[in-house]
């Protein structure tokens, strides 16, 4: 399998099917559906893929399943879920029993598993992501020091798989912060006063949506107040353009070669 560059993907948006511009998808699995395929519960699509409806579509209809990065949400207001708890750690985000996967996808159902389900697997109705408006949340507004704990990239994978595209907090743990960018999630650091305002919006569910604009580096609350945030220019560039940083680094192979030659002389024991 390999990288496939897609320009469109189908999403469910406000109850309607809609095409959205996509970044890229790294394919982990391919399903050949053929003509007039049935809804496939394993993929999780409740409808046949629109390009397969009618009988003028060819037999080689294929669904690619994988992980990718899309443009961060811009100029569109999203529902934000409030999680005022401080020090939300990676064990809460995705408990270790789900780290045994060898894939990047499919972790969304287990996001916040131990807070979200009872030991026998029933949803806990009070938990924020189980409540109706927040099932569609694309933003999380959280307490200080979000993502502390382990380096597991399963944490951003699970958030992304659930549909979260942006996390807003006063501070993040370093490794988690980095991992977000590698997966098309935008972590936004704002001062406590701004997070308080957005937390109040988030508590109002679908009635108070939040807009995040990465290009302009702003977050807009439902009442129109705008909060500017800082982001590393290189990370922003990669996120906006869905760039693969391994490819970018490999362009510098000559510099790496030179470094290795020099190091082999000055520190031959390495």
């Amino acid at each position: 399998m390999g990288d496939v560059f897609l320009f469109f993907g189908v999403f469910q948006h406000e109850g309607r099917r809609a095409h959205r511009i996509f970044g890229y998808l790294r394919v982990e699995e391919r399903r050949i559906l053929g003509r007039n395929p049935q809804p496939d519960p394993l993929i999780g699509l409740p409808w046949p893929h629109p390009h397969t409806e009618g009988d003028h579509w060819p037999d080689n209809n294929t669904v690619y399943i994988g992980w990718g990065a899309t443009f961060a949400p811009a100029h569109e207001a999203f529902i934000a879920a409030p999680m005022p708890l401080v020090n939300i750690d990676t064990d809460m985000i995705i408990p270790k029993q789900f780290l045994k996967t060898i894939k990047r996808t499919g972790l969304g159902v287990n996001l916040f598993d131990e807070m979200r389900y009872t030991p026998d697997g029933q949803e806990i109705p009070d938990f924020v992501l189980n409540r109706p408006p927040y099932r569609q949340a694309q933003i999380l507004v959280a307490g200080d020091n979000f993502g502390c704990g382990s380096s597991r990239e399963h944490a951003p994978w699970a958030l992304l798989d659930f549909g979260i595209r942006c996390v807003i907090s006063t501070s993040f743990a370093d490794i988690f912060y980095n991992n977000c960018f590698k997966n098309g999630i935008l972590p936004v650091v704002l001062p406590p006063e701004a997070v308080d305002v957005l937390m109040k919006d988030a508590e109002k569910g679908a009635n108070a949506r939040i807009t995040v604009d990465l290009a302009a580096q702003t977050v807009t609350a439902s009442d129109g107040r705008v909060f500017a945030f800082e982001v590393d220019p290189f990370k922003k560039h990669c996120l906006l353009n869905g760039l693969d940083d391994i490819g970018l680094t490999l362009e510098k192979a000559a510099a790496i070669d030179t470094f290795e030659t020099r190091a082999a002389q000055s520190r031959p024991w390495i």
Binding site: G2, K100, E153
Partner: protein, 472 residues
């Protein structure tokens, strides 16, 4: 004359391959440690893009997180998902030709224990691993930190990492530790003082007399938990103890290379007058044996204290403290020494080295686990296990009623069958007391190996100094 530099500055400068105008650097990585949980997707990424591992000789892999710690595991791992992950690492190590210590190898163990043990970890290096406790290797004066799986793939393919420099933070521990107080108490006390975000954006250099007086094992314990303090990495300048520890290890330099390396390593210290962005100073005499009472590593108190009242916390922390107490099943005002434990876990990359086992065994010798308490000792590597058996430590643990296991991460994160039951309370020498960390609903109190041994004997959290008095 160049401006005075910190140890971190020096190691950083030595490894910059390329620097962009905005300060983003491409940093060369000398050693890349790999384990089974955070690597399968990275190797899969290489396969999908047709890329190779650039420096297989600098890449070292070992299964540790998932592996059972009971006999027979070389031939059979019952949990299917765990088995698939371990098999994936077997295959990836073979296909990409990297150094590998499979479960059947006596040298297998927790990645952060075997790196130093085999001499892969050397002063002045840059070391990464898809695991946050990579900070452990900082005890050797190496810049070592955890990375995510995408970065694992990046390092495999390019032997470099895209990084921005962190700020410098100094944590100085002046004076000498009192009896019964250990490296674990230092590191927990620092986190208690600075909070779990106190080091965010920084690399910490630990220094001061008490740090100098620690053994290499103790220094590893201190650096191991730099991440719990929010720091990217922890560092300790190398000295004679470091060189002594490294000398003669299988992958340490030999002969002329050793002399050259030694000369280089002796330049690895913070220059007089170098700038630190943040400084924390703690007097070693003020550090008592500590335990955690809550579900964050910053919830640290001396064993002589009582469970705090959530109302005494400022801001958003009151809610978190209340949630912690509910989860931990504790009431404000309760004496910490009245908290009963059901289990004791000695092991992990924080405290699974030979010195830790010696310290715990010294307390346990001739004593027994309190009735109803289960105890487990999980050595950090096969070689630690072997040495402990040769020194008679294993027998002391077994005589006391502990289970003596094979090497791995085990109950520290409960990915293998070693877990706490809901509500079960454990005195643990590991590094994280998060909700559910050691098993869903399990309650963890972090402490040093001697404190865990003391709790094992009495059946409740105990000030080890009382038992030491009896020994004297």
């Amino acid at each position: 004359m160049t401006a005075p530099r910190t140890l971190y500055d020096k190691i950083w400068d030595d490894h910059v391959v390329d620097q962009s105008l905005d300060g983003t650097c491409l940093l060369y990585i000398d050693r890349h440690l790999v384990h089974e949980v955070t690597s399968p997707q990275a190797f899969e990424g290489l396969r999908m893009t047709g890329r190779k591992v650039r420096c297989p000789e600098k890449t070292i892999a070992v299964p540790d997180h998932n592996v059972p710690t009971t006999a027979g595991r070389e031939t059979r791992i019952d949990n299917e998902e765990s088995r698939i992950q371990v098999e994936a690492l077997d295959r990836n190590a073979r296909d990409f030709g990297i150094n590998y210590y499979p479960v059947s190898d006596i040298r297998q163990g927790i990645v952060h224990i075997i790196g130093p043990e085999q001499g892969w970890t050397l002063p002045g290096m840059t070391i990464v691993c898809g695991d946050s406790h990579t900070a452990t290797h900082g005890a050797f004066g190496a810049l070592a930190h955890g990375i995510g799986t995408s970065e694992v793939e990046h390092v495999l393919a390019t032997q470099t990492l895209i990084q921005k420099k962190s700020r410098n933070m100094k944590v100085e521990i002046t004076g000498s530790l009192r009896p019964g107080v250990t490296a674990k108490d230092i590191t927990l006390s620092v986190i208690g003082a600075t909070g779990t975000a106190g080091g965010t954006g920084h690399v910490i250099e630990y220094c001061g007399q008490a740090i100098r007086e620690l053994s290499m094992e103790g220094r590893m314990t201190v650096c191991n938990m730099a991440i719990e303090g929010g720091a990217r990495a922890g560092l300790i300048a190398p000295d004679e103890k470091t060189f002594e520890y490294v000398k003669g290890r299988p992958h340490a330099p030999k002969g002329a290379a050793w002399e050259a390396a030694l000369a280089w390593w002796k330049t690895l210290y913070t220059d007089e007058g170098a700038h630190f962005d943040k400084v924390v100073t703690i007097r070693a005499e003020d550090i008592a044996p500590v335990v955690t009472w809550g579900t964050s590593p910053e919830d640290v108190l001396p064993i002589t204290a009582t469970v705090p009242d959530p109302a005494s916390f400022a801001g958003g922390k009151a809610g978190a403290a209340q949630r912690s107490l509910d989860y931990m099943g504790l009431t404000p005002g309760q004496k910490l020494t009245d908290i009963k434990v059901d289990a004791v876990f000695i092991g992990s990359c924080t405290n699974g080295r030979i010195e830790d086992l010696r310290a715990a065994a010294a307390i346990l010798k001739g004593r027994k686990l309190a009735p109803g308490v289960r105890g487990m000792v999980v050595p950090g590597s096969g070689l630690v296990r072997l040495q402990a058996e040769e020194e008679g430590l294993a027998q002391i643990f077994v005589d006391a009623g502990f289970e003596w296991r094979l090497a791995g991460c085990s109950m520290c994160l409960g990915m293998n069958p070693d877990q706490l039951a809901p509500g079960e309370r454990c005195a643990a020498t590991s590094n994280r007391n998060f909700e559910g960390r050691m098993g869903r609903g399990g309650r963890t109190h972090l402490m040093s190996p001697v404190m865990a041994a003391a709790a094992a004997i009495t059946g409740h959290l105990t000030d080890v100094r009382e038992l030491m008095g009896e020994m004297a």
